[in-house]
Symmetry: C2
Subunit: 339 residues, 2 copies
DNA sequence: CATGCTTGCTCAATCGATGAAGCAAGAATT
DNA sequence: AATTCTTGCTTCATCGATTGAGCAAGCATG
């Protein structure tokens, strides 16, 4: 049968027959430990050449089944619609590959049920390790994995039962709020409280950012009413409708805002443009997360950029060291200069 | 040993022993064809309950090894740093999961070598089908896959040897150019040629877009000099330096531009802001690709949004039908209204 | 010349799931 | 009573790679 139209793939048994040797020798040569198995260089070369000629490709399913470690590393991630998660995934793939690990990623659309289903699927594929990024219920994921003897690391959002790598949300929010407050004062000559929009009131990051937001206000001697904290979810639509409702109940609207993610900012900006509420004077904005085009939107926006390279180095640092301590590593985000 | 601290995973043999039955029966029950195998409902229920209790998870490596089809579907994708590829990946995952397929995705960073390496890795994992998205050398990928009897579908960029689903690049570019030309005329009262920036001069999409760009100019009776077509690559830095160099050689600069992707636009916008060249009057822009924040950048930007949902429906349509015809399906992109 | 060591391999069990083939017990048919 | 059919399982080979154990030939040592 012609090699290019074959339907059966070449296996080590095929190569063994062609080389007039055993499958065992072929396996040893192709997975690199032929020296340890005392295969002669001559035979090794012959087999290698044959494998190349025949377009042999290892069957990972068979290989993983036999080995104790799969060298597959999984990640679940909420969405691919923003630069933050996009760069997390890019970095993750690069660092995994560097270590000879095969990365598989699943996007959960922020759906807790999908999160667990995805984790289960990854366990079925025998991942050695699972990174839960921005998981709504990291501890539940961790539990599933623990039952299968698979380690977990939380990224972006911390969990109580596995090592976590997150941004210094409090610190970033504190600094961001300070800057926006300062911009407001410069622009309007008075100290007024900002509005906090976006994020889930129940997630750790949002709570920490709200804490930073409040503390920066306290520092400046500005009181923050509870209605000014609108943790209505991340989706643009939710931020948009929160703004709409707020505008009905409050006048004048706050001079500035702390928007919790670019994705919420999308909704806020849409509302600002459509409603015309800030037509006379643009609000001073702060956004927790970075996007190149947001940075170009004007000189009234400050941004915090989470330090994705450092975060992923920390994650792989934990993986490499085999650490299982329940540490929470906090990586300082970068507060971008305006303009 | 306690179930929660175990290191060995539960297998069908463990369940068989606990249920006092055979592994074969357990397998039949758990993969759903116990009716066909004439297992009694009573035993089925018992096994199902046991599996649940023991937190049994199928070992996919073993299962795939035995079956003829893996139900794994692969995709290679250039980058995750823009909305277009982000939504492609999100849609891909969703549609794959809908069909009971397990999606694995690899990002190639636009590196041709990584592209092939990634394809090889996916073949090792026995993918049933591989989607090559925006591949620099789709035919080489296709060749690799064909040798393993795996079907390929090209997405975004067409290949000569596998079915392809792409945008109607010519039509989109034609309409986009028309609009930007019209905006320029409205704004400046005269018909002048636009600048085309970004993309690779060798890739099909860019060539088609340039063709649309030229034809729209011809329609309007405007001549396009070759120096006005700067297909210098997609990266922001490349677009930026192309602008810098152009500004040294050309004065006045074009009134408007056709920017070939948001990622190139990032560089163009950066240059515009830094150089101050368009400080007096902003250029009229057209961008082939959509981004929510770009849409907010001002009323001088027109955008073409590729119809990702339709494109992926087309891809899965081909997969579902088992088609192998060398068709190129062209999906019309959506030309967004300004503002 | 017997013994032990080294070199260069092969054999066969194994990983976990799958499914064709087969078998035993009871029910239905002739 | 003998036969066929049906039900409800079990047995066992198989997928492809891995690896501990073992074996034969060649060489060195006492």
């Amino acid at each position: 049968m012609n090699r290019t139209t074959q339907t059966k793939r070449t296996t080590i048994y095929d190569l063994a027959e062609l080389a007039g040797t055993s499958a065992s020798a072929v396996s040893a040569v192709l997975n690199g430990n032929w020296k340890k198995r005392r295969i002669s260089a001559k035979l090794a070369e012959k087999i290698t050449k044959l494998a190349e000629e025949q377009g042999y490709a290892l069957n990972m399913q068979a290989s993983v089944l036999r080995r104790d470690r799969s060298k597959i590393i999984g990640m679940i991630v909420p969405k691919y619609d923003n630069r933050y998660f996009g760069s997390i995934v890019e970095q993750f793939e690069a660092l995994a590959r560097e270590r000879g690990l095969f990365p598989i990623i699943t996007c959960t659309m922020r759906d807790p049920a999908l999160e667990l289903e995805a984790a289960r699927a990854m366990l079925s594929y025998q991942v050695d390790c699972l990174i839960a990024t921005g998981a709504t219920d990291p501890d539940r994921v961790m539990e599933l994995c623990a039952a299968a003897g698979v380690r977990t690391i939380n990224l972006d959002l911390p969990g109580a039962r596995a090592p976590s790598v997150i941004s210094d949300n409090y610190g970033g929010a504190l600094e961001l709020t300070r800057r926006v407050l300062a911009n407001c004062e410069k622009e309007y000559g008075e100290k007024t409280p900002l509005l906090f929009v976006g994020g889930r009131g129940t997630d750790h990051n949002t709570m920490e950012r709200v804490r930073g937001f409040r503390d920066a206000h306290a520092e400046a001697g500005v009181a923050v009413d509870d209605t000014l904290v609108q943790t209505v979810g991340y989706a643009p639509e939710k931020a948009e409708s929160a703004m709409r409702q707020l505008a009905e109940r409050m006048s004048p609207l706050p001079r500035g805002m702390f928007v919790n993610s670019t994705i919420s900012l999308e909704g806020v900006m849409r509302w600002i443009r459509r409603s015309g509420h800030y037509a006379d004077r643009v609000p001073q904005l702060g956004c927790f997360d970075w996007d190149p085009f947001v940075a170009m939107l004007g000189d009234h926006i400050e941004m915090v950029r989470q330090d994705v390279p450092k975060m992923l180095e920390a994650v792989f640092g934990i993986i490499d060291s085999g650490d299982t301590e329940l540490t929470v590593v906090q990586i300082p985000p970068i507060v971008e200069k305006m303009g």
